[in-house]
Symmetry: C2
Subunit: 457 residues, 2 copies
Amino acid sequence: MQNIKQYVEQNKQRFLDELFDLLRFPSVSADPKYKPDVLETADYVAKKLSDAGADKVEVCQTAGYPIVYGEKIVDAAKPTVLVYGHYDVQPPDPLELWKTPPFEPTVRDGKIYARGACDDKGQFYMHVKAFELMMQNGGLPCNIKFMIEGEEEVGSSNLEIFVKENKQRLKADVVLISDTSMISMEHPSLETGLRGLSYLEVEVTGPNRDLHSGVYGGAVANPATILAKMIASLHDENNHITIPGFYDDVIDLTPDERNAINDAPYNEAEYMTDLGVDELWGEKGYTTFERTGTRPTLEVNGIWGGYIGEGAKTVLPSKASAKISMRLVPNQHSDKIRDLFTAHFEKIAPKSVKVKVTPHHGGEPVVTPTDSVAYQAAQKAITESFGKAPIPTRGGGSIPIVALFEAELGIKTVLMGFGLDSDALHSPNEKYDIYNYYKGIETIPLFHKYFAELSGS
Amino acid sequence: MQNIKQYVEQNKQRFLDELFDLLRFPSVSADPKYKPDVLETADYVAKKLSDAGADKVEVCQTAGYPIVYGEKIVDAAKPTVLVYGHYDVQPPDPLELWKTPPFEPTVRDGKIYARGACDDKGQFYMHVKAFELMMQNGGLPCNIKFMIEGEEEVGSSNLEIFVKENKQRLKADVVLISDTSMISMEHPSLETGLRGLSYLEVEVTGPNRDLHSGVYGGAVANPATILAKMIASLHDENNHITIPGFYDDVIDLTPDERNAINDAPYNEAEYMTDLGVDELWGEKGYTTFERTGTRPTLEVNGIWGGYIGEGAKTVLPSKASAKISMRLVPNQHSDKIRDLFTAHFEKIAPKSVKVKVTPHHGGEPVVTPTDSVAYQAAQKAITESFGKAPIPTRGGGSIPIVALFEAELGIKTVLMGFGLDSDALHSPNEKYDIYNYYKGIETIPLFHKYFAELSGS
């Protein structure tokens, strides 16, 4: 594969055009009005896999949106790489904050602006083009299987069934996913773990109806005030989470592990400027990288209650609610944390209110072994492509299907993401650098090459 | 006026029919789509005043909705009663919670269900019918002036201008208002004070955009969490308000005053059952009546931030907001409390967020002197009509125009309300007991009679 750069260079405009075609599909899985578009996207992905040379391409129906499958088995003796990605995207709202329309990809300053540009169309499509590249440049070093789903942004609930029912078809030696980010192109990195998730909704009810805040104010518990007090109590003065037992299963990192994480380049002033904050906030005793990558956290994702329209209404609300999620680290368990939260939240509620806790969904934390052949192959590929070794980092986000693959298929995952934290995933003006897109297409074939070599095939 | 009961008895169906006609106008001042209805209501009120015998009836235009004026001057030597009321109503939302349509008055179990049944159409219209009754039964003991506005539910902002520009026309010896409630028909009461109000909106901004709660969670202050902590800190463990200086101007009641307030009949079990709560909540050291009537309070009227739709979104929000209002007691000042709140709220904000405080509106607390001729006249009227003396109570709500009348016209107000706390003002299924409506029409002429007598005319 001496001709990687040359092939990319010769085909760069087409690679970009094809991605733009893919980005023009408004494949929003959360909103039923986009259903025809999501289904068309699946067909487009299937066609592109076929065009690139995949066999047995199938748009596999599920109870929800289809999963696109394709494979190229070159030699049963060679190792098999299962590429996972997703063709669905987050809703584009709030639309008014987009500088250019979310489904009309636009290049500004070397960056592709579009919903899904990075998450995950731009990233999974690199694998399709890298596959084409390998097919046209001496063939595949490994067998390859593609599984591109359409429900990642709504919880991947049908993927679990698909994986359980297709264990033989999905048999592989490693799962390769590009759906995460690097520190920067100057500081390439490889994520070695992901946080798990436990997401719940709480509802606090005070009086049985909205009350006049003058007639009753001061004599009846206000559920918004009580909810505020309950939420406030979930972090202590050092921003430790106060739920009893919450940290019981957390394995403290060794000083060496902590040093490795903190060795990653980090400019606090730049970080704060990017976010527009004057001060950072977090658990006492830990650095930013440790807080986001290695420590469990609890965030209020939404809160509401009472009168939230224009102007003033003097109401003492009957109810107040919040969506609260916790990110979990290795050895914590989503179900256990869900139960600990629920018991604690119910316990701290004063008798003057009633509390209802409803779990939404969860996902288990994962750690990628750094001594595996697959990790080493990724390390070598990046080192060759970027001219420097990747820094191991811990990702703060959650990709629940990684734990699923491990549990159901018995395969570990390599998280070889080429995005950046500044790509505004899930936000208006999502972008992906064209440079990163091409860099990914160049790096992926090297992974296949080294994975084959290191596997001894 | 020996024939009061007889006249009411003979005209009861017509009195009810006319009120029903008035209630059928959806005179919602807050929503511009009802504008033609609000204007028609003003015309209807003017016509009914004329029909009852008022002179100089005028639908007085303002920058907003008109104020209906009418008067009957029988003798310049007699005292003058200025009747204030409002023909506008609160929005009927949420409509789905109404058992019968809000603008189709329906009688169930002796109660009129309709938006405005009690607040304030049912109550001010008693004065129109009592005026008719006096005109038909020996004439007026006092001169009478009516000022019925159409913007009470949206802050009465044009009333202030009208009052300032019409001081001579509005000259009177007392303002008489029926827009409050009694303990019960078995326990008639007279409100001797109203709380003031200071209403503000707060916005807490963390990062400059919504963030992925996995990538950034734990390292950046979450404005919803910070807002919860700030709100939680506004009451201490005894539910005292923690804003420095907040209580400085509060005049503690004497033991006698406290005893008088607590002598009012109160069944805590019934109070809790009506509200559906298992425990009451409030400032330590005070009873329910003291908490709602004599102590300043702070309530969250609304709170919102982050993702509040269906399902789950793992966002770390950029902003969180709340509407917060404080009820004030005599000698506290709305502007001063607004400034104290603002300074405190800005001060307690951690450096990790930015805070914006926006005042909505305010109103001053009022106390009605119980040694005045007008109060004594009201006392005598109720005693005669109900067969027992009224209990003096302190109202928890606010009617900012009462302080306005005192400041601009130099006249005190008598709050002779015939509603009940259970009338669901501002809520679905607002009602007014037919019994209370007739009882009001019977009692009001007695007030005029005794006010004239006690004034020595």
